[in-house]
């Protein structure tokens, strides 16, 4: 079943890097040329009703947003050309902000790549290839930087951390590098995977497997124990712009510039991939895709230059 969910204006969900996480709050991001505008959309999308408030507006370029559960709080973390900002669950109050800049004199800096390690450590990448790890305490104050490491030569594209412990962190950059780290007191390199020239645009870690979506349209699965390539899928004919994982079932969602959205099943046993669902959103460059529930039965996609968020339901 497919439904359309219309957001305020197309600037709301445009942006070739609009990613958003939907748990019970549906969140839309506005990505105008010079402004970051955050808009929160509340549920009942199936009734085509929503309430929306413009929460925040600043000059800058958005790269990524992420909801995360830290202790008792549901936080909204935003990465952009302004660095990293942490908002409370209403998206009204900015609790913490850090520019994440290594070369203040050089222009074109941005933060990109967000991951929560364990329960209270936020990992943020940036355009110089460094990662900063912040500790978020119970009452969100003070948020302290605990590590800062140059992990890549080029801009970080995405970061993922294992949910089930082991404090594994995987990072990727614009040049196609892919590295696995372990966080103890600081980040230690475990392995560097072979580069595929095209960068990895989206990373997830699940059940001992690293799931990577590449700009070449490939999806690759690496084992965290074998540290080798387990499975490779020629999934799309163009750049994969976004990917998501439903942790309950092992469903993996990929959206691409080729106008297709595809849902895959990853096997918990051996990391093998099979196709579950495929749909074409005709003449649309897809830029964002997210599951709407942890079981993966519902998901939505966003497209370049369109106000419509298209929702799919099994």
């Amino acid at each position: 079943m497919v439904g359309n969910f219309f957001v305020k204006n197309y600037a709301a969900l445009d942006g070739v890097c609009s990613k958003w996480l939907c748990d019970c709050v549906f969140f839309g991001i506005s990505f105008q040329i010079t402004k970051i505008v955050l808009r929160l959309y509340h549920p009942s999308y199936y009734r085509k009703e929503f309430t929306e408030e413009q929460m925040y507006e600043r000059n800058g370029t958005l790269t990524l947003v992420m909801w995360c559960d830290v202790k008792r709080h549901q936080l909204l973390v935003v990465a952009s050309s302004l660095g990293v900002q942490i908002f409370d669950e209403d998206g009204r109050v900015c609790k913490f902000s850090h520019p994440c800049v290594d070369m203040p004199d050089g222009g074109g800096n941005f933060a990109r790549g967000l991951a929560l390690i364990g329960h209270d450590m936020l990992c943020v990448g940036n355009s110089s290839g460094t990662i900063r790890i912040f500790h978020i305490p119970e009452d969100l104050d003070p948020v302290v930087k605990i590590d800062h490491k140059q992990v890549h030569k080029k801009a970080v594209t995405d970061i993922a951390a294992s949910v089930t412990g082991g404090n594994l962190v995987v990072t990727a950059d614009d040049s196609g590098e892919l590295s696995l780290w372990r966080l103890e007191r600081e980040l230690h390199l475990v392995s560097m995977f072979p580069t595929f020239r095209y960068p990895c645009t989206s990373l997830k870690i699940w059940e001992g497997f690293i799931l990577c979506a590449f700009g070449s349209g490939h999806i690759r699965v690496f084992g965290t124990k074998t540290l080798s390539l387990v499975c490779e899928v020629a999934a799309h004919a163009r750049w994969i712009t976004a990917a998501d994982l439903a942790p309950d079932t092992g469903y993996f969602l990929s959206v691409s510039e080729d106008s297709f959205v595809k849902v895959w099943q990853i096997s918990k046993r051996d990391g093998m991939v099979s196709l579950k669902f495929s749909a074409q959103v005709q003449d649309n460059l897809l830029v964002g895709g997210k599951f709407l529930c942890s079981g993966g039965e519902k998901f939505c996609v966003s497209t370049y230059e369109s106000c419509n968020v298209i929702c799919y339901c099994a």
Binding site: Y10, A11, D14, G15, V16, C17, F31, I33, T61, G107, G108, K154, A155, T157, D173, D174, S175, G176, R197, Y198, P199, G215, S216, G217, H218, T226, S228, L229, V230, C231, E232, V233, A234, A235, H236, A237, R238, W239, E257, D258, S259, F260, D270, M272, V273, S274, L275, S278, Q280, Q282, D283, N284, L285, Y304, E305
Partner: protein, 350 residues
């Protein structure tokens, strides 16, 4: 436009130009010649330029193709220009382009593409040539093709491979991928001169002479029979619409000359000749004033035919035309009688 100082400023790392500044720059460029455009025409021209560029950026299959598209633009400029000083400027432009972009990784180039796409967002003007070639929908969005070659380094979707810990493929399965993609072509050349491997950035108003294939978004590989077509300047198989109209005009002029001069023309002009004909409609005196370099010998040569309409010639066809144009006074008086039969009126004209 390709002045070195301007280029140095242009190539400084900076954010994307704001829209007002770009529009102003475009207007200045358009008015650099004697051409003058009113606001509506300027708007249309700007929209056309933006939409054509948006089409090129959207259709680039992978980010490095933006460089090839830009090189197509530079190649086209090179073909318009003949003065050596200007050719040097174009060479310098090429060098600066390569210095800036050739070393960028695919990921960095994708960031550039995203910045451009963000800038171009919101422009949804329908362009007739795009609509005609069915690459644009009636709502202004572009068609995203699900066929054609995949970019270099990519694979036709549909295959799942599993590997053992030593990296050997141990199983291959297939799935229906949707679309009808073909294998990647050879990447285009980024040398100063070369086949760019893509039509994006070339003249969209040229029409392929031999096939019905749309000139839009065509990619050329070794197996493609249209391999040598592409950049302007290599127009062997392309039918240039402008050139055709020019030839048609010449044929018509030749016919006119034949009618005016009768048999004389056939002998002197060489009927059907494709030589350039200059038609001078004004007296010789004016001709000398306006064109002092014209030699007296040339004026009195056999190739220069004088026609004086004040004196009647012996050409029957021309006489008839002349008579038909002349209205007699008696006929004019009869026209005032409104009850006159229409047939009578026609008879009097014959």
């Amino acid at each position: 436009m390709l002045n070195e100082k301007f280029l140095i400023q242009l190539f400084k790392p900076q954010t994307v130009y704001n829209k007002t500044a770009l529009r102003k720059l475009f207007e200045d460029l358009a008015h650099a010649s004697i051409m003058r455009l009113d606001e509506a025409s300027m708007d249309k021209l700007y929209d056309l330029m933006i939409m054509a560029f948006k089409y090129q950026v959207l259709m680039a299959r992978q980010p490095l193709e933006l460089i090839l598209i830009t090189l197509n633009h530079v190649d086209a400029i090179r073909n318009f220009v003949s003065a050596p000083a200007l050719q040097t400027q174009i060479d310098k432009t090429y060098t600066m382009l390569m210095q800036m972009y050739a070393h960028l990784s695919i990921g960095e180039m994708q960031n550039v593409k995203y910045s451009l796409l963000n800038f171009l967002q919101g422009h949804r003007v329908r362009v007739s040539v795009f609509l005609r070639h069915k690459v644009q929908n009636t709502d202004g969005t572009f068609v995203i093709p699900t066929s054609g070659p995949v970019p270099a380094g990519c694979e036709i979707p549909g295959c799942i491979r599993s590997f053992d810990p030593d990296g050997i493929v141990c199983q291959t399965t297939h799935f229906p991928a949707g679309g009808e993609y073909a294998a990647a072509c050879e990447p285009g050349s980024t040398e100063m001169h070369g086949n760019r491997g893509t039509d994006l950035g070339c003249n969209i108003y040229t029409v392929p002479a031999t096939t019905d294939m749309s000139p839009m978004n065509t990619y050329y590989g070794n197996n493609n029979p249209l391999e040598n077509i592409g950049a302007v300047g290599n127009g062997a198989k392309y039918q240039d619409l402008e050139a055709d109209e020019f030839l048609l005009g010449k044929e018509e002029l030749n016919l006119l000359m034949a009618q005016l001069l009768g048999s004389q023309a056939e002998q002197k002009q060489g009927f059907g000749s494709k030589e350039i004909i200059r038609l001078s409609l004004f007296g010789l005196g004016e001709e000398k004033e306006s064109n002092p370099t014209l030699q007296k010998e040339e004026l009195e040569s056999k190739n220069f035919i004088r026609i004086d309409a004040r004196t009647r010639t012996s050409t029957a066809a021309l006489e008839k035309v002349y008579d038909e144009m002349t209205m007699q006074n008696e006929e004019l008086q009869q026209d005032e009688d409104k009850e006159q039969d229409l047939l009578d009126l026609l008879d009097s004209m014959m």
